[in-house]
Amino acid sequence: MAKITINGVEQAVEDGLYLIEAARRCGVDIPHYCYHPGLPVEGNCRMCSVEVEGIPKLQTACTTIVQDGMVVITDSEKVVGERSDVMEFLLRNHPIDCPICDQAGECGLQDYYMEHGLHDSRITVSEKVKKKKRVDLGPNVVLDSERCILCTRCVRFCKDVVGTEELVIKNRSNHAEITTFPGKGLVNPYALNTVDICPVGALTSRKFRFQCRVWYMKNATSICPGCERGCNIWIDHHENKIQRLRPRLNPDVNNYWMCDEGRLDFHWINDDRVLRAEGPDGLMRPDEADRAVLALLSNPGDVLIVASPRSTNESLFALKRFVEVALPGAALTGGSFRPTGDDDGFLRLPDKNPNSRGMREIGIAGDLENRLNGSAGVVLVFENDLLGDRPDLESVLAGKKVVAFTSNRTATARGADLVVPVTTYAELNGSFTNHAGLRQEFRSAIRPPGDSRSVFDVVKSLSGLLGKELGWESETALTKEMTDVITGWGVRVEEETELHAG
């Protein structure tokens, strides 16, 4: 431990920390652009300059390692003046096109200008160096060179986090620009993280740009359902539509990052949802749908219930209890035919289901294929697109009555005799258990569209109609029992960390 004095307050911090990080842990925010805790330090923006006793010149807090007895001042006149001057330099060639800039509202330049700049510009906009306003860096990322302040966060991300080294700075001084090698693009599968870490509006996501102003969006903590990594994410939504997903800091799982594949995989939540239950005779109300399902359950021995590793722990646990209590004799199985991917050694994992481990630990058998080939005449498929993943199953399901509990119009839903809408993870409080056995909770972001209900509500209603009690009044009670029953699933306390603070 090192004892340092920041602004007259003596505090003990860990050895080997950079001063900027040490100060943050002591509750002192030092403004910065190029520094990012997930990236190697470079010290080029000079925004984090602070006074260190005994050193005549100001030191950049992001490159100075704490030493015992260090006395640091972050709010002296000298430091404040320096920040203001640095801001003026950074804004030297900035086009100030905030009205058309997507970053406006979460922009480092805006925030720090209000906090530390507030100078009158000595440069007119016409005197500024003009650069390209729209450079397509790759399939997902668009660059506005004028807005760039050359902090090189994106360069370092590509070089040191992903290792693909696609982004560099070309030319020098006024004419320096972020670029890729001519003829090549920013094509790595994590490229959109550069948009997150860009402190200004230079890098924008092609899918998100111009879609929604950031100040309209509300956000909710969630878990990416794209693979069994279980990256922590923010769901940013506006008017009950998901606008974008952003990674949320979790040092144990995904650190500051997430892959593009997971990030862009949310349009199915907004579009093409099943809004009303649908049977052979047309649309139905939820209670009519439940009765229609019930009519198929008269002989439990003939019923196969297919759970999904895409469902939450809570849904799976409720389903298991439902079979045990209300439908003894029915077979419960789980699993997925989703095509697997590769383990790229960073974040992406082969199993593209978020909760395979959770399903196993809850105790739902994974003998899906055998069971489907069995004799069961009625198949209840919960949140599982069997036909979409394995079109050849059509012949297997042909003679059976299929009830699809699904959020979207999947192939399974199209082939089913009865379709009942259920919620997606974005409309649900629940949890996924990732590949390492870490159960991570998430909160609902948006309201369920149409008649969508959670699986818990569906099975509760069905068991009510069957005259059986599941034993929980609320989902909270369910969660409590589940975490009590399954070892190692104690409630994890979420630490909410805003990404921009990083």
Partner: protein, 165 residues
């Protein structure tokens, strides 16, 4: 900046031996980028994108890094050589002495902007960073020669001379 014309680029056997000889001087393979860029420029007169990819392969890095370094230093020629390449310094000392007006005058006389070539392919004008002749600004470099303490009259005289041959 760079032309798209294809030229096959490779290191000669002698160069390869030289590379092996100096490789040990550098901590990482990346350190070789600068010497290799010089070698290419010496051998071919300029550095093409193909050459950059060749160097990247040699230095175990991405071509983008080579590109970044090559664009940083104005001494590296990224286009095919031209008869008269005028490089006007516009860094601080020269700038204070009036390099801006020299550059503007040249642009005016040649009818091109900095970074462009004349239509007849004889002149190329570039604004470059410091050429280490700060005591005698404003200055420019024509190919490998320095012309110092420039005035618009001097520039006019030079242009007359070069236009004649």
């Amino acid at each position: 900046m760079a032309t798209t014309e294809k030229t096959e680029v490779k290191f000669s056997e002698a160069r390869k031996q030289e590379i092996e000889r100096i490789r040990g001087r550098y901590e990482t393979p990346r350190g070789l980028i600068m010497p290799l860029l010089w070698m290419i420029q010496d051998d071919y007169g300029w550095i093409s994108y193909d050459a950059m990819e060749l160097i990247a392969g040699e230095c175990e890095t991405s071509p983008a890094w080579v590109y970044s370094i090559a664009t940083f230093y104005t001494m590296f020629e990224l286009e095919k050589p031209i008869r008269y390449h005028l490089q006007v310094c516009n860094t601080l000392s020269c700038g204070l002495c009036g390099s801006e007006s020299i550059l503007a005058h040249l642009e005016d006389r040649l009818g091109i902007q900095a970074g462009e070539s004349t239509e007849d392919g004889r002149f190329r004008l570039t604004a470059v960073e410091c050429l280490a002749s700060c005591g005698t600004g404003p200055m420019m470099q024509m190919n490998d020669e320095y012309y110092e303490s420039l005035t618009t009259e001097k520039v006019d005289a030079m242009l007359e001379e070069w236009n004649c041959d």
